[in-house]
Symmetry: C3
Subunit: 159 residues, 3 copies
């Protein structure tokens, strides 16, 4: 098979909501399981899914944002009905009951399937998130990386 | 015309907000009117658009979710300014005044135009929504169905 | 180079949140910088990014919506942590510190790069936004314009 015969898919993860990030990984891992070469671009709130979960930010504003918007795949809540964490707990429980893989396991599976993680460097700068605040195996990149991949992709999504 | 010459479009309906669901159907019906073969994948909150509107859920958590998140094309509210239903009423009124087709009619039109509705089985399991809670003419499917369609689509959207 | 050899990209801007609109322009301008022909479709809340910022609406409901949902690239707030404008101010400050171009400059750049702006006429009718409430250089169009462009695009996004 020629190099350019590999089918690609690109996903921008803009949202940091647990349910949307979860949907992004379901699609990414599904496509990777079909032998597609998947690239996920994490930008703005989406970076939360790649954060280790430590507090971030150095300037007063950055620290405030880091505190209000603490990242970590296990900590982010759903876009609806979070109610200060009750929703997150409820969804996890409901998903677990139905044997749905939790988000941290989905992320691990994505990496094992060869899904490429690119973190948006500009967002990291603005939100004062450093390389060491992110999990391992993440590349830093910019919009050019996305354009290049999306132009060659069978489908591209903004989530 | 050969089979593979038919142009396809794929739309993931993740949101359950009236305005976004409405946007999804505008695009789906528009594409179908141009003879494209359109598949809509309803997942997570998007399932609400396909629900009949009865209360759902069996476990205490499922019932609570069903109560807070009651579905039905005529019942869902906009992503902004809903204010417990006033926004929904206002938008319907403003749309009606401009002769914009209401959502239930849009859904009916989509089916008449041959748009394919696929409901995400995993989401249904997690949210305790049963086949009989959905309107007629909906297929059950998973991420594989989406990947297959999206890979052959002229455009794919996540709404 | 033949006409059809030009690569296209299509972006639906449905959201009126500052952060999402900003993301849309980052991608649009990035693609245009790579010589892609980019079309942005502004619909529903996304119209706010193209509004001059004056109050809109003629009917009582239209005026109320115009008041609650006042547009203008410099006025819209982020999807999270807006807190009545503090979030907007904070994000602008954080972006400015990192030398990130503010939204009005991004829009100007998009136009200079030849990005095509299409405003959804149906949304304008429903929301009672007139042509003269929008900035210059915007075409009016409908879903057919989007379908035509998206069908020929290397990637299409719904933001």
């Amino acid at each position: 098979m020629e190099e350019d015969a590999v089918e690609k898919a690109s996903i921008v993860v803009f949202s940091g909501d647990m349910d949307k990030v979860f949907g992004a990984f379901i699609i990414a891992n599904g496509a990777a399981a079909f032998d597609m070469k998947v690239t996920m671009f994490f930008t703005f709130w989406g970076l939360k899914a790649l954060q280790k979960g430590n507090l971030t930010g150095k300037s007063p504003m950055g620290r405030m944002l880091g505190l209000m918007n603490r990242g970590g795949a296990d900590r982010i809540g759903p876009s609806r009905f979070n109610f200060g964490g009750i929703g997150r707990w409820m969804f996890k429980k409901m998903m677990n009951r139905r044997k749905v893989m939790p988000l941290p396991a989905m992320i691990k599976q994505a990496r094992e399937l060869g899904v490429r993680f690119v973190a948006c460097e500009m967002s990291m700068n603005v939100m004062e998130i450093r390389r060491e605040d992110l999990i391992d195996g993440v590349e830093l990149g910019g919009v050019a990386t996305f354009i290049a991949e999306a132009s060659e992709s069978k489908f591209s999504l903004f989530i």
